[in-house]
Symmetry: C2
Amino acid sequence: MKIKQIGGEFALIGKIRKNTRLYSKDAIVGIGDDAAVLKYDKKNFLLFTTDMLVENDHFSLKYSTPCQIGMKAMEQNVSDIAAMGGLPKHAVVSLALPNDIDVGFVDNLYKGINEKCKRYKISVVGGNITHSKEIVINVSMLGLAEKKYLALRSKAKIGDLIFCSGDVGKSAAGLELLRNGMKGGSVKPHLEPKSRLELARKLVKTGVNSMIDVSDGVASEVRHICSESKVGALIYADRLPISKTTADDSKKLKKNALDFALYGGEDFELVFTASKNKLKQLKKMDVSAIGEIVGKKNGVKLVKDNKKLSLGSGFDHFKRLRV
Amino acid sequence: MKIKQIGGEFALIGKIRKNTRLYSKDAIVGIGDDAAVLKYDKKNFLLFTTDMLVENDHFSLKYSTPCQIGMKAMEQNVSDIAAMGGLPKHAVVSLALPNDIDVGFVDNLYKGINEKCKRYKISVVGGNITHSKEIVINVSMLGLAEKKYLALRSKAKIGDLIFCSGDVGKSAAGLELLRNGMKGGSVKPHLEPKSRLELARKLVKTGVNSMIDVSDGVASEVRHICSESKVGALIYADRLPISKTTADDSKKLKKNALDFALYGGEDFELVFTASKNKLKQLKKMDVSAIGEIVGKKNGVKLVKDNKKLSLGSGFDHFKRLRV
């Protein structure tokens, strides 16, 4: 049986999770959130996450500079730590490189990594280098979250409003432009995505109930929150924050910007839920209310043109062509 | 310039290390040991390590079962934690898999991972799955080491004896047998290497000055200790622990068992140094005295047939053919 046939990446993760055991009470949250939550000290939890970038799957040397690849490898891990409400601290980096690669590639990749380390005050404390046919970069990151600020996927409550930060769909639109040899404002957000660490910190201080970062599209992230929190959701299609640039680029591509936002991924924005009484405070921030949490039996629905449609799944690495 | 031309994997790591900054006092030891050492609590340090296995470089599906690959992915990280004197606690696992791979492969890979988790009481708390041409498995692991037991590469002292645990060269001999379609007792140690966690704990309680695990051959590990400790070393060729099985298999292969021991790697044994007054206690354990630490200006030498030869480097992923 192929991975696609059992339902793709997330079905496989579900299968793995079922067979995994926690051997210590120090592991507070294991598989199933943006980062693991581990015991640390009286005030803080330790956060532990990992992400892999594979050549021709997550990036192509046709489109990205080595520096941009290094930056992205860091940003996607920072985004995971941000989505937990924490701050990144330490990272280890594994590289697999083809034999004939130029040392300059590694220098520039690390230029990107070190630039992000400086920005976020992250120390690279280890790693390893090995050999492969395609370039692979794996970053694992540790962070700290004050216990009172920890944000999980599993704490959404019925009646919560669902929010999305910044604007979404830009990364997927940018990739589509690149694939078609076209130009547009969405290209840069695809090549140099930025996590929302500062905003995430403001949000947890304001008080959110659940949070996740946008790795695989808003649809997928809302589904994760609902599945972990055992609730349903209504997402209003016309409320999804899509920038004019993304809309224009989508038009150029003869594609639907809403699809990029819902199913595209890698925007590294935040999707979160908060109780209605936080709305006034949240309205002052770079976030949009896009829906609400409802009972589980209602499912996860997209409201479009006054119709309730079933919301599809997000981006799945086993269901699409490579870059 | 190619990686091979600047001196291979370790030269590249040296270059990266030089440009890396530690942004926090919480990072006590960064790049340059088996694991990073981070602040944890009054009694313990947190250890953080990562290792990647790449298909056709670290393993081949011609030789290894998926279960064996999963076990090896865990053992090599446990070995890093062991070499620091600590105990493994939590792991995250990144997988990159070809599109057409069978779900059974992942089930069996995780059978191996979970078997080692059970043995060492390690909790897998996260990970991610993505797509690639070749199978890549990256494990990052956290461990704890009591401050008084922490073993570093950098604390070897002039006059220390150098020891090696168990026997070495078996993994390289086993790989060579497999490559030549031959059988022998070294095949199993290659396919199912075992870290020396229990022994490492005994050693740090006895009192070692420096320690490292055998990932790339004894020569490379002694060189690492010497370079981090700013000392030299004499290794006595006839004292290297080589089992009868490894010697017999080497003979079959018309190869020198000493070369496998010095330059082979992946034995996951321990190389460590301790002051002479520990010899009596250490003699009761599964270790052999193989040399001594001398002043830096003496260099790192192999004593063979009463001649002092310059000791070569260890295994380098950029200097050999694939599996």
